[in-house]
Amino acid sequence: MSTQKSNLEILPRSVQIALAVGLIALAAFPFAGTEFYIQMVTRMMIMAIFAMSLDLLQGVTGLVSLGHAVYFGLAGYALAFLTPQGEALSLWWSLPVAVLASGLAALVIGFFVVRTQGIYFIMVTMAFAQMVFYLFFDNKVLGGSDGLYINFKPSAEVAGWVPFDLDNKLTLYYFTLGAMLLVYAFLRRLLWSPFGRALAGIRVNEHRMRAMGFGTIGYKLAAFALAGALAGLAGYLWGTQTGYINPELMGFHMSAHALMMVILGGMGNFAGAIVGAFAFEYVLHVFKDLPQLGSVNLGKHWQLWMGLFIVLVVTFAPRGLLGLLGRVKRLGKNKAVSHE
């Protein structure tokens, strides 16, 4: 459906260095930041995982899903349902179960959705997402419009020994950082595996892939399910951090935010998704925090600024920050594989 654009798959040296610096900064940050900002950055890292999962689908495979947040929210709901009333849940089995639940949901919905092409795909992912949204919104049994509370954070206890406590904001920060790095490493590996190469081929020219003998529907379904599972990981962490899950987390607004994050940073290499998630969350934070100007509370109208921001970015910088960097890099050099 999309054009035959390629992505900045091999990161130029400058970007690699910038990422390394960023990693060091993230590792050291808690020592310099206040609790408020530690929580904020934890949230950004959770969104980064969410954005990376979408990047697999969108940036690599070329499938634009407006319903990706469903799998994000479902894992959070799984955590909420699994957590008993009076005590904490074990992290070690609840995390895999929640991730699996999201992956399975993605497999089921994906089965209907991957046989559609182009604009249909966008519309049906949106429709199914809203279906799940209303399923939870309308049913008190599932929490209804009020959502569900998670009273106890998952416990890391193993046979009496508690290696770490997720209630501690610092611990949760590093746990999330570790998860984000693992997901990044996994996805980068995947990108260069035969499976990842096939997905990229599907994005560039699905017709030729089929003519060469690839069962593209199967590949797309696998990517869809995997992306859903990873979104579930992010959702589980969100539930762990905030202790609260509501249907809004599954709606198409949330999905569109994720799309924005991926596009903001630059698609197809997962580093862009991380950068985009941080940038998006930061911009959102800035807009919501705008001061009073005379009689008008600018922060209250954050949706207006956000909307204008999105419109401007899409109009003038559609391939995001890393894309701009890549273009600058290319001026003069003619490296074979570093291209946009």
Partner: protein
Amino acid sequence: MSEALLSAKNLTKRFGGLAAVNEVSVAIWRNQIHAVIGPNGAGKSTLTHLLSGDLPATSGTVTLGRRDVTGWSPEKISRQGLGRSYQKTNIFLPFSVWENVRLASQSRAPHASRWLSRAITFEAINARAERALELCGLQDRKNSIAGTISHGEQRQLEIAMTLATGPKVLLLDEPLAGMGALEAERMVALLQSIKKDHGILLIEHDMDAVFALADQLTVMVNGQVIASGTPAEIRADAGVQAAYLGEEQT
């Protein structure tokens, strides 16, 4: 090898009331180049789409080896041993030349869905891709981006990708399209060299190339076969001369 590698019997494709392909039968044998010629709009490309599974036939059958592949999807037919190249260059423009053929070769790997190993370490896949590149003379352009190489080289890449899937039968739709004299010569030599061990259905307008390459000729006009035989027979056929060849022989 007493049976055809690929055979179509009474293939028909109707679009509404119009029969783009009308009761066409054609067979391709090993070590043979079977050319299909005819004026524009004769239905040659449509015939190719029917054979490769890109279009479903209205009636008739397609047999690949011993299997009836009528109505099969393109990927299934490809895996049965059919490869095709396109009239309009249909490659992966943003990828390198090497990645184009490597991906084509990967389509045949049994463990193609292994997720965590780096793709470039699969020896068998790489070997087949290398061979395809060598056959088509593109080894020197390995690292160039497919979108930046010349038109003639892109047409060569088309063929290389088709070869890299290791097919028994090749459907080549105007491989010489848009080529200059030198490039066309090279392509003809390439096709001569791959004739061995393959069966080739060739659609072409370049009559010099056709008569240099073809062992069998089928002439199509308005969706129907009006003549089929050896090049000498076709040349002598009055009906063909009237309908088509007359204008071409300059």
